[in-house]
Symmetry: C2
Subunit: 219 residues, 2 copies
């Protein structure tokens, strides 16, 4: 897969715009677990995932985390270039969840194209609206959904993303996804185990009864 076929508006750009993007484009291979962006101060640029997985999250002053969305193959990450828009007044951290190949479009270059092209600006609008929708979904989860349902839904999502019912994940990592404390997750998982929904082992959680988890997670 090359950049041209992954970048959704490529065909609609002018030749000059394409040259500018290709001229500045950086191709990176990033190892799993690397924080590639951590504050609005470092304006990394727009990221386009070729293959792999990114996690965008926010951090509290005390170091607590909550995942706000994840990015997969061909997804574009806008907030790593938040310096492009002065109205973006928040910090998002981004790390790789697997080994990841990605392209970086320097923020300056993308901003220039956005300023002259209604098409690129409207595409950016749609990108931001999509992320906004994910954050609003999360807000609803956090506000109205109890933690047992959120843990069940997260385990099912994770099993789908990883393609396995035996998740190699710590309670701490689950807590950081959901914005809660490890102890809360541990208590919940033990309750799930008693109910026959999961089997716990050191460093892993196995989904033992998906139907029951789905009934809870979708409730």
């Amino acid at each position: 897969m090359d950049f041209q076929s992954c970048f959704p508006i490529w065909d609609k750009l002018t030749a000059a715009q394409r040259d500018r993007i290709l001229g500045g484009l950086i191709s990176r291979h990033v190892r799993k677990g690397t924080v590639i962006h951590s504050s609005s101060a470092d304006c990394t640029g727009l990221l386009l995932v070729q293959s792999g997985r990114l996690r965008a999250y926010i951090l509290s002053e005390e170091g607590r985390e909550i995942t706000i969305y994840r990015l997969f193959d061909r997804d574009m990450c806008l907030f790593s270039a938040s310096c492009m828009m002065r109205s973006i007044q928040f910090d998002v951290s981004i790390e790789t969840e697997t080994d990841t190949d990605l392209w970086v479009i320097p923020a300056e270059i993308y901003r220039g194209i956005m300023e002259e092209s209604a098409l690129a600006a409207n595409y950016t609008n749609e990108l931001m609206a999509a992320r906004f929708s994910e954050v609003m979904w999360l807000m609803e989860q956090v506000m109205w959904k109890s933690m047992d349902k959120r843990v069940a839904a997260f385990l099912l999502e994770e099993a789908s993303v990883e393609g396995t019912g035996r998740l190699r994940i710590t309670h701490e990592a689950i807590a950081n996804h959901l914005g809660t404390h490890r102890e809360v997750v541990t208590r919940m998982l033990r309750y799930f185990q008693n109910e026959g929904m999961v089997k716990l082992a050191r460093g892993s959680v196995e989904l033992a009864d998906r139907e029951k988890l789905e009934a809870l997670g979708n409730a």
Copy 2:
């Protein structure tokens, strides 16, 4: 104040674009407490507040509410025209908090201008980024800040918005702003009263010690 001087990009639009906006523009006077937009299904259009105050909030299935942002004079409301962008996949409700004069730009007209004008599209980007920032701020409050601090911060915000230290507001209304239950707010306000921070009366909350409230709300 006329529309032209309130609409930030007016001077930069073409004569044809201005004609289209003025041709479709609707001026409305809306009484306090009116729900003017309640789902993405009714695409009300872009709202520009001439004078007054709007509250944007989300609703749970059980009817619980949380305020996600407020709009004041000259503020523009984008999500009342969410049909303009297919990636906006969430419902925001909007109601007037005071008698409000506003203009409505029909979504069709604005969308047409956004599609042809990089300037209008980038302006819309900035609008969305500004609201996104408010929602991310709220997410941080909800995730990491305890309810006593949030109630204190809300009372101070409300006093500033209303221009009075004697707020005519019910515990229910405060709960709906903060996304919690009335009982939680009542318990908190009684605690504040015991600490000398507020004085409670039927249907009103008086700020008795702003310094102490600020110390708590900003903590």
